[in-house]
Amino acid sequence: MKSRSLTAALFASPWTVSFILFWTFPLLYSFWMGFTDYQLLSRHAPQFVGFDNYRALLGDRDFIASLKNTFIFVGGTIPVTTVVSLVLALLVNREFRGRGFFRSAYFLPWVTSMVVVALIFTNLFERGGYVAMLAQMVGFEPPVNGFLYDRGTALYAIMAMDIWMAVGYYMLIFLAGLKAIPDELYEAAEIAGASSWRQFTSITLPMLRPVALFILVINSIKSFQVFVEIFVMTKGKFDTSTVVYFIYETGLQTQFKFGYASAAAYVLFVIIGVFSILQFALMRRRQAAW
């Protein structure tokens, strides 16, 4: 028995090592760094500075702006992505010719590398590009320098691209949720003479609640960390910097202010943590009310 425990520990060791080395240690390390003035190129050893970094962040206009942009990004993309992906799921849920083809095609953006997607849309959003042409067709005057070179539109353009990229993925998760709803519920509703709309609001939506919760949580964890598209498309200019972009800029790009950037990372960590917990609590309470 002893030897079997040893084998088990040995088999589990890749995760144990990885968990300690690449997760626990970095998290503790950056927690500590957040309370120091650690700077890579500095001559002196890191000094403990208490909450100085956190206080400085509150007064840092760049940080506050990146925080604001991150919230706009999350608050703007998540509701739209969730609704659109549900609509897509309903569109391809029923049996029809070519269903598999449409499902796969809608999912393609997600399989594509974010860098490539960002490059494609950088062109599409350019002055005189295809999105500008479409905008003009529906009577909207596009910004003179292109969508990505305008403070009023840059962030929203990137958000639109993100929605485009993500809906296929969440559609798949909604589809799995739809498949899990027992047919008997609809049959009973049919016999009772409920309309399609009534069936949708009284059966489909409530039954999808756990899946919707899952989607909200994973999407907000992901969206709060938006970085790659910002890096490729605007380099944080035109009011598009986000918190992770701020961390990269202050921590790794030129200044190597590890202490300061780590504090910013922890602010984001706490925000994401609070959001996830809130969503869980909210959804659970609603479920209990049903």
Binding site: L119, E190, I247
Partner: protein, 275 residues
């Protein structure tokens, strides 16, 4: 639920499907078309529709840039990481599925917790670890931290739990070692789960940008996404070549996705259903 649809309903349905299709696939078709467009031709709608097709942008890139090197880096790193994921995730998943002891439970809890942790907040400590550990700007930095991942462990554990342990027990009675049981019995039985976690690991790592970008600095170690993102800043590069490079970066995963669609979909939905 089967419900008869009117002709009007069907036309409307297909109309919507096709509009969405155009929106979802249009940008990718655009990429492909521009990559095949002569570099001297402007990107007007008329040219995209009528100008002739050329592969010159691709041959240029392979001849005059390090695209082949970047392609190799992407393929090498993603393959090694995928192999590591197959071996380690099944190994750990096996222990977590079969042992009901408290260390095993705690370990599984750490897997689930890490699945929820936002990875981007550890970029600075991870950068420092690689720097001080002497693997910064080497292939090791691109591989080591990603050899095992919690989603893969989760998938493997769930799958192994669904297999009855009778074969393993029989082998154990016959005196087979645990290592032999793992490789000769568990691994072969796990093939469907392995296909799922392998294809997800490959696609994720092939497309990965942030970590390869911050954990390396030399040009020789750039993967395709890193090379493309850094190319874009240069004035010298035109959209035709940039899209040709993008096509090279996208095509392998598109092919992989079409071949292994079922696995990709079940891997994505497994997490969603379990919650």
């Amino acid at each position: 639920m089967v419900r008869r649809r009117t002709l009007f309903g069907q036309v409307l349905h297909y109309g919507l499907l096709i509009v969405v299709l155009a929106v979802m696939v249009g940008p990718l078709v655009w990429m492909l078309r521009v990559s095949l467009l002569d570099k001297t031709v402007s990107l007007t709608a008329q040219n995209l529709l009528s100008a002739s097709i050329t592969v010159a942008n691709f041959t240029d890139l392979f001849a005059q840039s390090d695209l082949a090197r970047y392609l190799f880096n992407s393929a090498f790193v993603a393959s090694v990481v995928t192999l590591g994921n197959i071996l380690f995730c099944v190994m750990v998943g096996y222990v977590l599925a079969r042992r009901q002891t408290w260390p095993s439970r705690i370990l599984f809890a750490t897997v689930v917790i890490v699945m929820m942790i936002p990875v981007h907040i550890v970029i600075i400590p991870l950068y420092l670890i690689c720097l001080k550990g002497g693997i910064y700007d080497t292939y090791w930095a691109l591989i080591l931290p990603f050899l095992i991942n919690p989603v893969g462990i989760f998938l493997a554990k769930q799958y192994i739990e669904s297999i009855p342990p009778s074969m393993e027990e029989a082998a154990r009675v016959d005196g087979a070692s645990e290592l032999r049981i793992l490789f000769r019995i568990v691994m072969p039985l796990c093939k469907p789960a392995i296909a799922v976690l392998a294809v997800l690991a490959f696609i994720t790592n092939w497309n990965s940008f942030l970590f390869p970008f911050i954990l390396t600095s030399s040009e020789d170690l750039r993967t395709l996404p890193v090379a493309l993102a850094l190319l874009q800043g240069h004035q010298a590069i035109d959209w035709q070549h940039l899209m040709a490079g993008s096509t090279v970066a996208v095509l392998p995963v598109l092919v992989l996705f079409f071949v292994m669609q079922r696995q990709v979909v079940s891997g994505i939905t497994a997490g969603g259903i379990k919650q």
